[in-house]
């Protein structure tokens, strides 16, 4: 399946842990995993756990507006997106998990 996980909580939260563990399990099961970071979730873009997920094949997106607002400069493995981009991912995904 195509699994979309949206994280709006900061990376020192329960939600971050849940998002990372679910994403890893999804990849282990050979699903397509999209991770979308918005609001305080964009702080996660400097965390190793997310970089590792990108290496394992998860597709990482973030809300550029929220990242600019928080002065976060993501690396190449994360793709700049928007709320409209998130909407497109919702079209594509079979399941959506919203964590905030």
């Amino acid at each position: 399946m195509k699994l979309l996980i949206v994280l709006a909580s900061n990376p020192y939260s329960h939600d971050f842990n849940t998002a990372v563990k679910l994403a890893n399990a999804g990849i282990e099961r050979n699903h397509t995993v999209f991770l979308f970071f918005m609001a305080n979730g964009v702080y996660s873009l400097v965390r190793e756990e997310i970089k590792n997920l990108a290496k394992l094949g998860a597709k990482i997106y973030y809300c550029a507006h929220n990242a600019n607002q928080r002065k976060i400069k993501p690396e190449d493995w994360a793709e700049s997106s928007s709320m409209y981009g998130l909407s497109k991912l919702m079209s594509e995904a079979d399941k959506v998990i919203m964590l905030d």
Partner: protein, 117 residues
């Protein structure tokens, strides 16, 4: 081609943080290609009262609610929550549907995607 889905957004906490702002922004973004229902549940109904986000450092939500109205999103407030809190809504220039828990239950059941905040 993008698939149009029936998406329900639920805000169940009060709006006096950034949650309401971000949830509404997300719903607006989704309203271009999906059928949106935005449900204010429990303390979430405070979002529709006349409150002043800028006083507590939060961006106003008026434009987002206006956009949802223009995109024909259905805006729903939980009847029981509104009654218990004895609150009055501000005129947001959009129609607000007051629905009871049973009706809201049906909306959630019919949704293809449910986004909770």
């Amino acid at each position: 081609m993008a698939k149009k889905k029936n998406i329900v957004f639920i805000l169940k906490s009060n709006p006096f943080s950034w949650k309401a702002f971000e949830a509404l922004r997300q719903a607006v973004g989704a309203s271009i290609e999906h059928r949106i229902t935005f449900i204010f549940l429990k303390d979430g109904v405070y979002t529709l009262t006349d409150w002043k986000p800028q006083l507590i450092g939060i961006e106003p939500i008026d434009k987002s609610i206006e956009s949802l109205g223009m995109m024909n999103a259905e805006i729903v407030a939980e009847k029981e929550a509104v009654r218990e809190r004895g609150i009055l809504f501000k005129d947001w220039g959009v129609e607000i549907h007051i629905k009871d828990k049973d009706e809201i239950c049906d909306l959630v059941k019919d949704a293809e995607v449910v986004i909770t905040w």
